[in-house]
Symmetry: C2
Subunit: 210 residues, 2 copies
């Protein structure tokens, strides 16, 4: 692995553990056992590292979002949702400190908003396809579908943050994290036909013994 990528990975690890505000470039260089000069050869400052991490977030999210599952099964759409929530988990410092990070860097804000617009429109496309396939009931008004889509985004991106307010990082288990899928799915639940609701529950309970 090249030094540039090692700096990014170490920064990500420290940011996730302590928050981006509490970690400076010196601490990143020290943890990695390189000189500050070596770090500055690759990155101008901390903001520059955060932008490089954002590029990884964008690439990971694009990979998850690259195609709506064509079979529309409960398994496939749950895996899709879990994939996007895992990206939030991997880069949780970013979502935890979102307001300050975007406030400090207008260009990062622009890139983030573009990614969010893409994620939200992909979710909307999935819901529309489920409706067309008779796998989801059409909400009465368009704004209900808009609101459902936006709420899906708010709950999915804030679930990790919710866990972080209850527990320290080391206490958040894989089971706690994956329970978030149930919470996000429950937003759509009332719009699902009875058969699909039962499919989801059977699938979910088989995966989660508690």
């Amino acid at each position: 692995m090249n030094n540039r990528q090692k700096i990014i990975d170490t920064a990500l690890e420290l940011f996730n553990a302590h928050g981006a505000a509490a970690v400076g470039t010196n601490r990143i260089a020290q943890k990695l056992g390189i000189s500050p000069g070596n770090l500055y050869y690759h990155f101008k400052n901390k903001q520059d590292i955060i932008r490089a991490i954002f590029e990884m977030i964008r690439a990971d999210m694009a990979e998850v979002m690259k195609e709506i599952p064509s079979d529309l099964s409960t398994e496939a759409s749950s895996a899709y949702l879990l994939g996007s929530m895992r990206v939030v988990w991997k880069y949780r410092f970013f979502y935890a400190d979102l307001v300050a990070l975007l406030h400090n860097d207008p260009e990062l804000r622009r890139l983030f908003l573009a990614m969010r617009a893409h994620t939200v429109s992909t979710t909307m496309a999935l819901y529309r396809r489920l409706i067309q396939a008779g796998q989801m009931n059409q909400p009465e008004h368009q704004w209900e579908l808009d609101s459902l889509t936006l709420n899906t985004w708010i709950v999915a991106t804030n679930w990790v943050r919710y866990l972080q307010t209850c527990k320290s990082d080391v206490d958040v288990s894989q089971a706690d994290f994956e329970r978030g899928v149930l919470h996000v799915y429950s937003l759509v639940m009332p719009y699902l036909p009875a058969q699909r609701r039962e499919d989801f529950l059977r699938f979910y309970l088989a995966a989660q013994p508690d």
Copy 2:
């Protein structure tokens, strides 16, 4: 107003404008035109000021939550929801930076979790009362009601944060903010009888011309 309260109010104003991490005690004293020594006479450090602000959050939230509206009308339950969202708006720095603030102060975390437990159980009590009164359909499973309640909390407390990631503070209008009530209400919408859904829409559209 005494100096202690003036310090708290100035800190709140600066924290909301710039984030708690970016504002130190010297800046608060300077803005207020008092000496750092005068500030330290009232507060040990910034964390001490944040705890004092949290006491105000807790008191404001307790005031909103003190009774579930007895008439259960759309107007009363929307006002109730709007009241709690206004508390989040008033102290938005706290909710924006929640993970770091609670990470830095375990006692504050304990107090916050107690407030959250109270808010969530009050919301659950409201839903149960609506179900008993035939104003809301009973979800099939208890976990759906648990999940609806938790999602209500997640969306209501993150709506301001959502706006702050899209726009700077000065660009967030009252209308943007109050649109959040529609998003939170839309979580409950699919569980409402048709008549109540129409009541809410009529009420909401009358209040929001766009």
